[in-house]
């Protein structure tokens, strides 16, 4: 496989540009859109999820726990896969096998994280609406999903030996950082407001 950056990496570059445009949008034109989505957040608190989350603290805390356990699974899947790519973990097992198996776990963890996250957001919708860190988390989550499915996954479909090793290692490190950012900003929501 050629290692030219304009060859097999076109899709990667396009996704990178989309992420970059999204980030620029969030810090420039976002304020106008921000006002427009306020009624949606008001509506979220009136849904069943919102009512349950606000009324039963134990239900909210229980869902938070599932959210945390899903985060642990996601962390395990990311660290095992990226650890293998960086040559730190499971070095005597095929990298492709570890990457593919961890991808399945990551998808399950993401489904659980997003489902429980929506429930939790409904319970405190107006609180999180005013929290900058909540929007940073959404930005990090969107970046993480786009990065994983449209940059990392297509890239690592190729034989790792044939990809520029610096690109491989930087992608693995970026993956760890972006998911850590998602987790850290999520934790910070708990301390804010």
């Amino acid at each position: 496989m050629p290692t030219s950056i304009l060859g097999p990496y076109t899709r990667t570059i396009v996704t990178g540009v989309i992420i970059w445009i999204t980030v620029v949008f969030c810090f420039t034109l976002m304020p106008n859109a921000y006002v427009g989505i306020f009624p949606f957040f008001e509506w979220m608190e009136t849904t069943w999820f919102g009512v349950i989350g606000k009324t039963w603290g134990a239900a909210f805390a229980f869902v938070q726990t599932i959210h945390l356990l899903s985060l642990a699974l996601l962390g395990g899947a990311v660290l095992a896969a990226e650890g293998r790519i960086l040559g730190l973990l499971l070095t005597d097992v095929s990298a492709q096998i570890i990457i593919e198996r961890c991808h399945v776990l990551l998808v399950w963890a993401l489904v659980l994280l997003i489902s429980t996250g929506v429930f939790m957001a409904c319970g405190v919708a107006l609180k999180v609406y005013y929290l900058p860190v909540f929007w940073y988390k959404m930005l990090a989550l969107g970046t993480g999903i786009l990065f994983h499915f449209y940059i990392r996954k297509p890239l690592f479909r190729f034989d790792l030996q044939q990809i520029n090793p610096i690109v491989v290692k930087m992608t693995a490190i970026a993956s760890i950082l972006v998911w850590f950012m998602v987790a850290a900003t999520g934790r910070w929501i708990g301390f804010s407001g």
Binding site: A61, Q64, A72, G76, A77, I97, A183
Partner: protein
């Protein structure tokens, strides 16, 4: 016994570093965040090992490799969680020591340790006969299920510690007061 624990907690609470840690907004939050985020390493690795034994993850990778290679980062994660957990207890000793959830969590942590010991012993005794199988034998799978169950409840209890539903400062049924170790006439909470 409960009075001894209470007196010890009050003594800890009176130390300068406990107050400093508790009152420091950033330091306390850093310690708590580290405790929670290290879940991604410790429980993350543990889940992968358990799911491998149950046949839900890495079915085509030898079980011994997953267990041995992921054991080190898992233990590093648990060490960080242990240290930060002690610091969190030290920051709020009286309330923590009388938290029903904290007490359940401690009992479950002991159960987790015993289960992990038995799990590893059983595994090292027999792994050569089933290492390549997608699912581990029944006894190992039982250990994996127990591990997942115990740790999930540990996380639930850890989360519930933050809530004051069962705190001694509130009026509680006698049974809860007994389990939480509330002291008659206590002045510190």
């Amino acid at each position: 016994m409960n009075e001894l624990i209470y007196n010890f907690a009050v003594w800890l609470d009176d130390t300068a570093y406990s107050a400093m840690l508790h009152e420091s907004y950033y330091m306390y939050n850093w310690v708590e965040s580290t405790h929670v985020l290290t879940l991604m390493i410790s429980l993350g690795m543990l889940f992968l090992i358990d799911l491998r034994m149950l046949g839900y993850a890495f079915p085509d990778v030898p079980a011994s490799k997953i267990a041995e290679r992921l054991n080190v980062p898992m233990l590093i994660g648990f060490s960080v969680m242990f240290v930060t957990g002690i610091l969190l207890f030290y920051a709020v000793p009286v309330r923590s020591s009388q938290s029903l959830w904290f007490r359940i969590k401690l009992v479950l942590l002991v159960a987790c340790a015993v289960n992990a010991y038995l799990f590893h012993r059983r595994m090292s005794d027999s792994v050569s006969t089933w290492d390549g199988d997608a699912k581990a034998p029944d006894r190992i799978r039982l250990g994996a299920w127990l591990s997942l169950g115990f740790w999930s409840i540990v996380v639930i209890c850890g989360r519930f510690i933050a809530y004051d539903w069962m705190d001694c400062i509130r009026d509680q049924p006698a049974f809860i007061e007994f389990l939480a170790g509330c002291i008659e006439g206590q002045t510190r909470f």
